[in-house]
Amino acid sequence: MPSRQQTRQGYADALIELGTTRPEIVVLDADVAKATKTCDFERRHPGRFFNCGTQEQNLLCVAAGLALEGLIPFATTFAIFATTRAADQLRNAIAYPNLNVKVVGTHGGISTGGDGASHQACEDIAMARALPNMTVLVPGDYEEAHQATFAAARHSGPVYLRLGRDSYPIVPELHGEFAIGRAKCLRGGNDLTICTTGIMAHEGLVAARELESHGYQARVLHFPTIKPLDTDALLLAARETRAFVTAEEHSIVGGLGEAVAGFLAENHPAPLRRVGVRDVFGQSGHGNELLDLYGLRARDIVAQSLALLQSRAVA
């Protein structure tokens, strides 16, 4: 197994398998099939692939019509187009009537890189999460993306599946059973809880090992499902650990961090800090450079964790 792979490839490989066994699955794209990798599905199942051209709004509504007739459409484009460009269609044509459409956004997050801020979806999770009926999945590596695609196909109802562009490290700890709505405990510990989603699972594990050298045992709780949030796992972590650091490749506004903070504030208040894009637009650069530049690395999780553990609020 390679050490790094693309989450979008995990999606595309799962789609081909699903297409073979589930004739009701159809795939739509909006002129980015080579980039989202749905071109692989097109080659295998050409009669069930539809390229809408650069029509993201039409894409989501055509998918809604197909779902009304019992098909399972995977409407695929870049995350920025699936959410901000087609926000009304996502809300009114899919989420509101609770249709069985899978909206898949690749190239999510700041690591999309060179295209710059116009194409770096850092608010897509917030937008999808705000919609009633919507399930929001953000897998952390190739294998988990593959699992999430199968889970989305099994689930009845609208799903937003957020994927990335770059090759990300394979994280063997992620490869247990995938169930929508369940967090995965990647590492035990009772000093603090690091909550991760998407590719931050890897960074969270690296951070936990670093914290160990400072004498702290960090639990790493990974959330491939942002909505519905696994509140049981959070409540247990709140009882057993002293503080929380959340980490996501997304704005600190409206994503995992605020979901966790909101639940804890109402149910089991705990000191918490968020690692994420700090309410700014990004810029062009290589994906890895941008993860460094915008504070989305293990060292940023470590810094926030140490600051929190050594503050009066926790001590």
């Binding site: 029509q55 709004q57 509504c61 019509g65 197909l66 779902a67 007739e69 098909l71 009114n92 509101y96």
Partner: protein, 279 residues
């Protein structure tokens, strides 16, 4: 071609539906009268004459589908569905009220007989494309009818759907434009000009006909011609009068989305021939 008794029947159903539209909007104290009255003949012709459907089996697989892309004109659709027997006419009193299955804009999961949810403009024609594409994939012969507003065609998404339906040869898609030439802020041609509208649809590769949207015979003939199409979607541009049937509402933009007061309701009812007084 309709025979005289069919024509009389449809005209009487249209008169009934118009009475229900005015009553619903009066009772709800909100709703869209003008565009409901302009599209009454089209919706009545579809449900009482042209579409294959069964109120006793709303999900019948090979039924013809209908999408009200101009979703704000829900009163004409709800009144017609009730008239067909999809739900009791007494439900119309609950229009726009909490707990009702008759939402301000069509919400498919709640209302018996609805084939799609619509609301914000421009979405419905694309959804109809999806329904037609699904029919093609499932080898079904049903038609998908859509009713668009003319003002709605200022939305860019309408033209996305126009390209899409042409690309995929959605010949089972038969759309109407309720060309009443008025929108919320005034004349379509002053707010954002649409003419020459038939040329635009022809340029997008659609089969286009232009009819009098209040003439049942012309509606019938245009749909028959559309059904004969083998590889092109159809747009029937129906010239209509906004507010048709109530003299003081005809061709007045202010009747787009305003309810009548008691005196106006009484006058409108008198013009449409009162069946019964509302509760």
């Amino acid at each position: 071609m309709l025979d005289a008794s069919q024509r009389r029947f449809l005209q009487e159903r249209a008169r009934h539906v118009r009475r229900e539209i005015v009553t619903m909007v009066y009772q709800a104290r909100s709703g869209h009268i003008g565009g409901s009255l302009s599209s009454t003949e089209m919706v009545v012709a579809l449900y009482h004459h042209l579409m294959r459907h069964d109120p006793g089996n709303p999900r019948m697989p090979d039924r013809d589908r209908f999408v009200l892309s101009k979703g704000h004109c829900s009163p004409v659709l709800y009144a017609t569905l009730a008239d067909c027997g999809y739900f009791p006419s007494s439900d119309l009193k609950t229009f726009r009220r909490p707990g009702s299955h008759l939402q301000g804009h069509p919400f498919q999961p709640k209302t018996p007989g609805l084939d799609a949810s619509t609301g914000t403009l421009g979405l419905g024609l694309s959804t109809a494309c999806g329904l037609a594409l699904a029919g093609m994939l499932q080898n079904s012969s049903h038609n998908v009818f859509a009713l668009c507003g003319d003002g709605e065609q200022q939305e860019g998404q309408i033209w996305e759907a126009a390209l899409f339906a042409h690309k995929y040869h959605l010949s089972r898609l038969i759309a109407f434009t309720d060309r009443n030439r008025l929108q919320t802020d005034g004349s379509t041609e002053s707010v954002m000009p649409l003419d020459p509208l038939p040329d635009k649809w022809r340029a997008f590769g659609w089969n286009v006909s232009v009819i009098d949207g209040h003439d049942f015979d012309q509606i019938d003939k245009a749909v028959a011609q559309a059904r004969a199409q083998l590889n092109r979607p159809t747009m029937i541009i129906a010239n209509t009068i906004k507010g048709r049937g109530v003299s003081f509402m005809e061709n007045v933009a202010d009747w787009h989305g305003n309810p009548p007061n008691a005196e106006q309701f009484s006058r409108a009812s008198a013009e449409l021939g009162r069946e019964e007084s509302p509760a």
